[in-house]
Symmetry: C2
Subunit: 350 residues, 2 copies
């Protein structure tokens, strides 16, 4: 109606430059979008280096074996890959993982991919690094369930072949089969598990890598304020934040028991309901959502985040666009994670 009115009064000849102006404004808006995005996000690095744990091929190769090794757990059923499965994008699809001796873990299994980018590991940030996480998992009652580090190392040393591989990965005069080196090897491997996606190609200048809907979602992601916390190369993972800034999260997630988050670690009032902001890389592949896996689908998770963090009620269109943007964060499974290597043969020792 408006266009036909315009056409009638202005005429076709005058309209052409006006249309070009709109189109050009659209393009420059897109350019501004990618430029704005580059100030907030970065493409993934090829791997995540660590000054404390230099990545050597021997260490990475050993860590890759150990990641899939179940015989070091107390009942022989838990490897890192039990909760971080290749087919499920390094998660297990459970609200809360079940570990050794069928014990339930308190929180949803975080993704391994790109995890080394984060300020800390675990939902409450109570693991310093991927190395620290891997080491402590050996004695976590609901993860590997070993009664002590000594017990874990005895299981490891009983598998022929590992001692030699540890010696090569950690040369030196001291016994290399230690919980710290277990953590360093697995951590080194995890530091190679990065998952570049269409969003990285977009940030690197290929604007066609994102659909128009995904670009609209990216714009909304920044305008609404999501990117205030979910930013950087991980699209999250860089800070701690209260879950439920605007209203109590459990009213929307239906979580039966509110988790006090980082408060239970630091006992500081300011940390009540505070969690590490999760990285959103591959988020479309890793339902269920939130620290307790209380929400089944990504659209629902997006809607709840807008509500409880930003006080916004999203339209269906906004949710669709945001999900399209989040879809652009899905990369292929890293080859060294998707491809199994044979472990040294030996039976589990009960």
């Amino acid at each position: 109606m408006k266009w036909s009115w315009l056409l009638r009064y202005v005429g076709l000849a005058a309209l052409v430059p006006a249309l070009l102006l709109v189109s050009s404004a659209g393009r420059s808006a897109d350019e501004r979008l990618v430029d704005r995005a580059r100030k907030v996000f970065q493409p993934l690095p090829e791997r995540v280096p660590s000054p404390e744990n230099p990545l050597t091929p021997e260490k990475v190769a050993l860590g890759r074996l150990l990641f899939f090794e179940p015989r070091v757990s107390v009942d022989g059923t838990v490897s890192c890959s039990r909760c971080h499965q290749p087919g499920l994008y390094s998660t297990d699809a459970l609200p809360r993982p079940i570990g050794a001796l069928h014990r339930a873990n308190p929180r949803n299994a975080p993704v391994i991919f790109n995890a080394a980018l984060q300020i800390a590991e675990h939902w409450r940030g109570d693991r310093e690094s991927v190395e620290d996480q891997a080491t402590q998992a050996l004695v976590g009652p609901a993860s590997f369930g070993n009664p002590s580090y000594e017990a874990a190392m005895a299981r490891l040393a009983a598998i022929p072949g590992y001692r030699e591989l540890f010696a090569r990965a950690f040369p030196g005069p001291t016994d290399p089969v230690t919980p710290e080196n277990w953590g360093k090897a697995i951590g080194a491997y995890e530091r190679t598990l990065v998952t570049p996606s269409p969003f990285d190609r977009y940030l690197e200048g290929d604007e066609g890598a994102l659909t128009a809907e995904a670009q609209a979602g990216l714009r909304a992601f920044m305008q609404l304020g999501c990117a205030g916390c979910h930013n950087g190369a991980g699209v999250g993972g860089g800070m701690f934040q209260k879950f439920g800034l605007v209203e109590d999260y459990w009213k929307e997630t239906g979580s039966p028991t509110p988790d006090k988050g980082r408060f239970d670690v630091t006992h500081a009032d300011a940390d009540l309901y505070v969690f590490k902001v999760p990285i959103l890389r591959n988020v479309a592949r890793t339902p269920p959502y939130f620290h307790d896996g209380s929400v089944a689908t990504l659209p629902e998770a997006v809607r709840i985040m807008a509500k409880v963090q930003l006080g916004q009620t999203l339209t269906d269109g906004q949710v669709r666009e945001l999900v399209a943007f989040l879809d652009s964060l899905t990369g292929p499974l890293p080859e060294s994670f998707a491809t199994a290597v044979a472990l040294p043969p030996a039976g589990f020792r009960p």
Copy 2:
């Protein structure tokens, strides 16, 4: 000493033809070995066809996904791959697998590779085929643990994407998401998991594919009588046999509770302590050994088999040679088993 004596009396000129004769006799003995072996064993086929379950690419691809799918189990922790792990050559290294709800299975996890070659599945042969095994696992209390097939199918149907894949694999007017089709898809996939090894190359005419020690082991394997049961393409899997033909097996294995084997299935006296003869393909990769995983190492398992089945006490040299032959039955991990594909994203529904 003898040689120098011979040399002195016969002279070098006469010795040359004599040496050639010895060498030629050696070669012809080897030829006889491979010929004899070909009467007892066959190279692996490329896949194991089934008249009841024709192998289509759609079915095999679906079965590959389902094999690694944990969300169909009662607690979301058990996929086929929980007990048949890629890194452990389709076993789990446990004496007896732990399945859903941490329930212990009664017997050691059999290998999946080449399993479709067998007369029946499971240690007692109480699963007709790989298809039957996969279907029944859905409701096995210690495997997937579902209370009913309906419950299992409801879990499967709740994962978006599978209905479409089932429809493509099983075209027709009826609902394709059935326990039978679950079994057929997984069975079709398993029928592609064959693991050709140096022994197949040997049988096909490349005599250098087996070391001299492995050839000596092969000769002993046939002469001692092992091949009386462990024969065919699977080097086993073709018949039932009593474990402990000559003496009670548990006296050697140390098994705390004798398992009556097939007797508990058929209740026929002749089936007391009778088990399916396991295939020995990749046996060097799949400790611990026997139906109850009671023996940790392959040399020990070989020694016990000779004792309780054949009444023979092997020398260390014989054990080494037999193990060298068994080593030649190890093939590389099948690519479609070692390479993970992403499963349709959805959280487990408790």
